[in-house]
Amino acid sequence: MRWLDERTKILTPVNFLRKKEVPRHKHAFWYVFGGLALFFFGVQIVTGVLLLLYYSPTPGTAYESVEMIVASVPFGWFVRSLHSWSSNLLIAIVLIHFFSVFFLKAYRKPREAMWLTGVALLFLVLGFGFTGYLLPWDTNAYFATQIGTEIPRSIPLMGEFVVKILRGGEFIAEESLKRLFALHVVILPLLAIGLAALHVVLNQVQGSSVPIGIQRRDPPIPFFPNYLFRDFLAWTVGLFVLLCLALLFPVQLGTKADPFASAPVGIKPEWYFLPLFQTLRFMPAEIMGLNSELVVNVLVMVFTGGLFLVPFLDRNAAEGRRSPLFSVLGLAGIAYFILTISLAYLT
């Protein structure tokens, strides 16, 4: 190891981690979700690469290749189930991490860059969900993507362009599958790995945030190895939950998509897109003479911009004071998320 360190300085980051400490307080439990998100991202990469060995991204072979993975490749059904369930868990964990950072005001100075990379990662993770959904080329995947890629059309100036870029034509067809496949396995992973690395490095440099008003009485936990062991414990629990889901509820394949058939009745997107789906359902066709899809798209853009700007808008938190308004906004966000998902499942 000394030989290697003399030539590569490989022990420098290890020595840095040995000095790093994690604060101890009553809200410290929420810190584990960042590491857990990283764990599930790793599961996605490993299982995704394994699926990539057999998947074939053309409309004539995509469904059949997934069918072959499930039926003929040893443990193929298991790897596909792990990939699918892990993507759902990853999004759930990222959302929990997002809300815990939001409520603990961990985005405040000097951690604005961590917040910006974190919000970008949240949208990238949702992008993975969207682009991966079409790949099995079954009926639900086909028509859900047809509906999902239609939503941006009403965005002023760039809507048509966005739809064309995503679909590669007017309808979901071979070009769309190739484009979403390229996004799913090359473009988004490159962006996500780069941003995740930056997010983790910023976390190591700035350390974990202590919530406003918390007095640090307990001695901090050394990151290496004490906190890392706690992370391993959380990862083991996460892995067990994933195994339970993948083994007890293996992901099945629907019927092969028929582009000339009509969309199945009551088709719904994945749970994490249900708030957007239900919002569109709530809306009348026109609001004050404007197309309701246009209104929702503008609202989504304003909401997205607002999320990125949270550390700069919350001046109280930036100066170390409590900011109940932002906590109320966060609670309202959670309530809307749960309400719309429940309504989408019940109606």
Partner: protein
Amino acid sequence: MVDSLKSTGDVLAGIPDAGTRTAALVICGFVMAVFVVLLYLRIKASDERAGL
């Protein structure tokens, strides 16, 4: 291989029955429970060394 891909129409083919999958889960659960206990002991020991 891709040229020879043909749909069988059997959407459950290849997935083992529920009993086999449950047995696999029990074995995995047992191995992971042992791992968690050993990890917990390791955490205790390293916390003591760090004076926590």
